[in-house]
Amino acid sequence: MTRLLYVQGVPIWRNVVALRWIVQIVSAVVVLSTIALFLLNVAREIEARDIPFGFTFLDRAAQIPIGEAVIPYDPSDSYLYGLLVAGLNTIRASVLGVILATAIGILVGVARLSPNWLLSRIALVYIEVFRNIPLIVQLLFWLTIVLTLPKVAEGYVIAESIFINNSGFYMPWFEAQNGFWPWALITAIGVVLAVYAFRGLNRRETETGQQSYPLLAAAVIAIGLSLVALLILRPLAIDIPQVEGRFGRLQGGAQLSGSFLALLVGLVVYTSAFIAEIVRAGIQSVGKGQTEAARSVGLSGMLTLRHVTFPQALRVIIPPLISQFLNLTKNSSLAAAIGYPDLVSVANTMTQIAPAISLFMIVMVSYLSMSLLYSLIGNLYNRMIRFKAA
């Protein structure tokens, strides 16, 4: 009977393979039963205490105002549509934030390594100041700055088209006309052609050694085609903000609200300080010997950066960079504190009437999918550029 407890002639409690399996199974059981316990508890309490739950409310009219929206919104629209509007606000702030924070972070990180003493010190101060103050403090600070601007009626007006006041920043923007979609199509075709031209000329340059200016040619094709189409089709009109009505409200143009600006500046400045450190560390991780070898075969500083230092630094930079993108996206939920109607802020308002558990489950799933999407893109890119061997 005891032979059953033997695997390959070794007692099960001394067999490495068996032990490995036992540990796996025990931990799986512990984890799964904890989760089950939690879920069952929640389900029981929801029923016992009559806590509202379910997703049927999503079709009903939300009846709450949302301060700003990328797509048209009215309080009579449904909860689901309201959440979509709020989600787009989150995406607007975080995508713009990621782009700006990356650009500024790279500049500051490279400046930090500059042999220019002053530039390097300025970058150092920037990094240390913005990295070490809590984000919520920075957001409230930027909001305060915006709120100290004059009122709408007394605000700054530049060239009768740009308005800056305590309700935000207003500037002329484009308005799509009839020919917009044909123009957009032509521009897209231009970009595709430019990419092909760039690749072709780049290949020609490496194959034949003749200077072929791929970047210049690509830019001329893409911009040229788009400009010509722009002149012929006239797809865009310029919409200038106008003062309207008794209270002097501003209408038209591009409107960036005060809280949006405060959120964007706060997120960008805070995250770019971290990105700058990541970029600095990445560049420094490439040994001095690499630069020396590149210089000694005659590569110039720019060529060394492009072909030797940067490709190697990128492998170190990408993973922590993606994690900063995730941080920025999640941190954008602090918008609730400064009155920007992002997903969390709007969902929180909705809980006054609609079931909170359902709403926050939706919010959590939304953030999770945004983050996973970023991770997926980042990992794919990382796999593309990893070392082929080693």
Binding site: T208, G209, E292, A293, R295, L299, Q312, F387
Partner: protein, 270 residues
């Protein structure tokens, strides 16, 4: 020199080099001129008042205790270190702060490092073709043909498509030699090229260097391979505490050193 190293039979020597090799050393022109060169790191004087002239096609082995300034000295010859006093002229080009002069000098001078410093993210072939393609604007087919020819010469053409990390130390160092040669330099600098290698790989690198010397390449080698020095060097330079203590043919250095410090050091290492 061709007579002293005794391995020239197997290699073909380009016509211009053959002409130079045909003349005795004394009648050739100076390709490297250093006059009263100094270099400090902070308060520490790394190179002290060094003057040296190297003839075209000459092989100079530089040796001395660690920290004697020998590496710093050859690194100044392609401006990886800046000299702070004195004058350096490479093949008629004055080493000034003029970027154009520095680029020209770096194209004249190839370098091989102790730690190989191959580019880990590109293949062996890519390592060799990068500079000819990007700096000399050589067509890819031509650059690759040149690279293959150089890999044949150092004996590892079959490794062309591999990445540096897949190669042994000795193979990596031979790729590094091929990479430096791809820019067709007039002068080659070797900074302790065999010090990071396992003993069984030292010979293959020294063989590649011997072959290179036989083709009339001007070489400055920092190395402690005294067998190689005795066999290949035209002159040997002994550095100590940043100064050039003694400079002379191997025969003089090994059998009749003029300076006590040279004798003392050789007694320690031989």
């Amino acid at each position: 020199m061709a007579e002293t190293n005794g391995v020239q039979a197997a290699v073909d020597i380009p016509a211009d080099k053959a002409e130079i090799l045909a003349r005795p050393l004394e009648e050739r022109d100076d390709i490297v001129v250093c006059e009263n060169v100094h270099k400090w790191f902070g308060d520490f004087c790394a190179v002290r008042d060094v003057s040296m002239r190297v003839k075209r096609g000459e092989v100079v082995v530089i040796f001395g205790p660690s920290g004697s300034g020998k590496s710093t000295f050859i690194r100044m010859i392609n401006r990886l270190e800046e000299h702070q006093q004195g004058r350096i002229v490479i093949d008629g080009i004055e080493m000034t702060n003029d970027v154009r002069n520095l680029d020209a000098i770096r194209r004249e001078v190839g370098m091989v490092f102790q730690q190989f410093n191959l580019f880990p993210h590109i293949t062996v072939l890519g390592n060799i073709t990068l500079a000819p393609q990007r700096v000399r604007h050589m067509p890819r087919s031509e650059a690759e043909a040149l690279a293959m020819q150089l890999l044949e010469r150092v004996g590892i053409p079959e490794q062309a498509q591999k990445y540096p990390a897949e190669l042994s130390g000795g193979q990596q160092q031979r790729v590094a030699i091929a990479r430096a040669l791809a820019m067709q330099p007039q002068i080659m600098l070797f900074d302790e090229p065999t010090s990071a290698l396992d003993p069984e790989m030292i010979k293959e690198v020294l063989d590649a260097m011997r072959e290179l010397a036989a083709t009339g390449m001007t070489m400055l080698c920092v190395t402690h391979e005294m067998g190689f020095a005795r066999e290949v060097a035209d002159r040997m330079a002994f550095f100590d505490e940043g100064a050039l203590v003694e400079l002379g043919p191997p025969d003089q250095i090994f059998n009749n050193p003029q300076e006590d410090r040279t004798k003392l050091f050789l007694d320690q290492i031989l």
